[in-house]
Symmetry: C2
């Protein structure tokens, strides 16, 4: 399955309804490999990924807070986490983990899956809840929860270009 | 020009040496459109983009601090900025701008350009310097500076997959 990179970026939408079809481990590994190709400050790669395929754990993750409900129907989910202890310059791990998460979304879309980025960090209530649920040790920080599955909804391409957000040479 | 999305993600490398060839406005607009297709918390799209094509301004931007030197040779650069004032939930603008920046890098790579993400926020010295140089008003925050150009260096594909960073169902 091939999808042009620009088409992939332009047609990716948040998908919150998933088919019951399973996703192969080969596809999950491709998506993880894509995440790890993100750039990072000083190439420190401060990310970690908890892959959740167990149905009972998906249900527990779905109950952490109300906007994560779709997680229970996902084929799998990834809890992207950060490890600030490897940083050479403080504070960039959030950007590095975000770039990795965007790669997760794009790679999964190009492979025919749907996914959605649900925010965890910097909401301390959510960080604490996921830390407790999955026994995630310090200094690792739960960052974002991304459920994946073959889409059971179709969403139209959207044009988000907004020229008022672009400045040329002067503000 | 077409490039498979997975290939794009897996072969993108940071490119710091640029050819003198100009980049068309059509390509710059395609890259900006890709950035604006990033997901964002509550779909608030808290990003702004200052596109720098003026050679004198590129030189000034290159002198802000030592790791930005390659900016003077870029065909153009984009100073990605954030607008935290539009947020419904505090603190997610950094993730949103990071996702947009990753789209900038991937889109440019797929269109034959090289680029590199150079960090600005949260380093207050750099934020202040770019704010002053381009008269960027509050509450906008200079976030990252990305120079672009046709590559004058080739970098090999790298395998960054690290299975020690992946956990399956339990930490």
């Amino acid at each position: 399955m091939k999808m042009d990179a620009i088409d992939c970026i332009m047609t990716r939408r948040s998908i919150r309804k998933y088919d019951k079809k399973e996703v192969s481990k080969d596809i999950i590994n491709k998506i993880l490999a894509a995440a790890m190709m993100a750039p990072s400050a000083h190439d420190q790669r401060p990310w970690r990924f908890l892959v959740i395929t167990d149905k009972k754990l998906l249900e527990k993750a779905a109950n952490v807070y109300k906007y994560h409900g779709m997680v229970k129907d996902a084929a799998f989910a990834i809890l992207a986490c950060g490890d600030p202890s490897v940083e050479k310059q403080e504070g960039f791990w959030i950007q590095d983990c975000s770039a990795a998460t965007q790669n997760l979304l794009l790679a999964s879309h190009s492979l025919g899956l749907g996914s959605v980025w649900t925010g965890v960090f910097p909401r301390t209530d959510r960080v604490d809840a996921f830390r407790k649920l999955f026994s995630i040790p310090q200094p690792i920080i739960p960052f974002a929860l991304i459920p994946f599955g073959y889409p059971a909804e179709t969403r139209q391409k959207e044009d988000r270009y907004d020229e008022t957000k672009v400045h040329w040479n002067t503000w």
